[in-house]
Symmetry: D2
Subunit: 136 residues, 4 copies
Amino acid sequence: MSETTQSPLLFRTELAVRWRDLDAFNHVNNAMYLRYLEEARLRWLESLGEAWMDEHVAPVVAQALVNFKRPIGWPEDVLVELFADRVGNASLTLGHRIVSAQDPTRLYADGHVVMVWFDKRSGGSAPLPACVRAAC
Amino acid sequence: MSETTQSPLLFRTELAVRWRDLDAFNHVNNAMYLRYLEEARLRWLESLGEAWMDEHVAPVVAQALVNFKRPIGWPEDVLVELFADRVGNASLTLGHRIVSAQDPTRLYADGHVVMVWFDKRSGGSAPLPACVRAAC
Amino acid sequence: MSETTQSPLLFRTELAVRWRDLDAFNHVNNAMYLRYLEEARLRWLESLGEAWMDEHVAPVVAQALVNFKRPIGWPEDVLVELFADRVGNASLTLGHRIVSAQDPTRLYADGHVVMVWFDKRSGGSAPLPACVRAAC
Amino acid sequence: MSETTQSPLLFRTELAVRWRDLDAFNHVNNAMYLRYLEEARLRWLESLGEAWMDEHVAPVVAQALVNFKRPIGWPEDVLVELFADRVGNASLTLGHRIVSAQDPTRLYADGHVVMVWFDKRSGGSAPLPACVRAAC
């Protein structure tokens, strides 16, 4: 996992917490962390400048692990950092850290997400798109 | 993890997928799985018939792991099953399985969520409430 | 509007409130009412047994009005009722009432939603699908 | 409504659309417009620098009207503008416009939201807080 290894940083992006991200406990709801990761991941893929999916090949999330370190309040801006933890043939393990934008030493969460590319026609796995592999 | 061990089943509940749980890929969004688990967990805690949190002691989610096995569509009803994977002094690891209500052999996801009870005044951990420990 | 006229009832459906529908004020968030209406509307359209959209023609929401009468808590089941307030050539005004399933005299919200069918190729409006018109 | 009158502008704020705001039709979901308005409204209230709610007095949304003019895609930044459409004794009608941040002539939605302040003890209405009245 990125928190212990020296995986290379792929992408860093800032997100504004919305008030509605809070739940009835007045903290950002746990499921929102996956949403922040998703937004960062898609911004990263869009930033590659080349197709990371097409009519036939698309990624799915196979596993998500989040370690919740501290509650997040509102208003707040967070930084999401993505790391190349493991680059496989058809899969990519993205390490992640969510920290405060005001104080990046303030760690809100870490963990990883495993993405797998698959072929919609065969239903089987597909090799990572070239632009994704190159970026890692 | 519940998928490999024989952890005892704590609770089973049915949820109706909402159309808006789908994302632009036309499948239930990954983050929604955490929401289904949350809903099941709270229903379970409410079912205990005794206080599982109070002014001073409350649980937080310390870790969530989800293995995504199959996409979920709409309309669909899912069953969420919770298992007592590990019962610690201040923490509880709830294994989970999300399956189709129509066909419970159709596994959508499994994994676990680690909950920790803490004392709001001290900021430190607190023992599991008696009703939670008894239920496990 | 359905609250004042005797528009015919088109559909009634029950929805389970989720804990996460609550916001930090511990009531169901205002935006969720639109989600409940959307879920009811789609269940109704699906219930018609014929195509209510296709490759070329689809509905959009042109206007939504919600009068919030009472806060909704959790756990709770609500009934959503849809009425044919006005049936136009290309548009349909659906009146709505959200009430408690346990006590249908307990009104949570009313108002209406205006749907317009449009032709994706021309960008202009399209006549209501036959099954929708027949149902109204 | 703000679209036809010259109500004074109270507040303008920019929001980043998130990918998950899209629904299965690949456009920002209708209910999200209420969320954008809510976020803008809360940022505005927070910007007043004085208490706009306290232990005893709080606002609720009594009515929301949204006219949907154009679909919103992702990625996109929107501007939300809030107007003082009507200032009552215990209520405030906030006109709103949602436009593209890149091209503010591109109108996504307009309408209004009626807020009412109420006294939690009596359950009756309460006068607008001084800072809210002054801002309007």
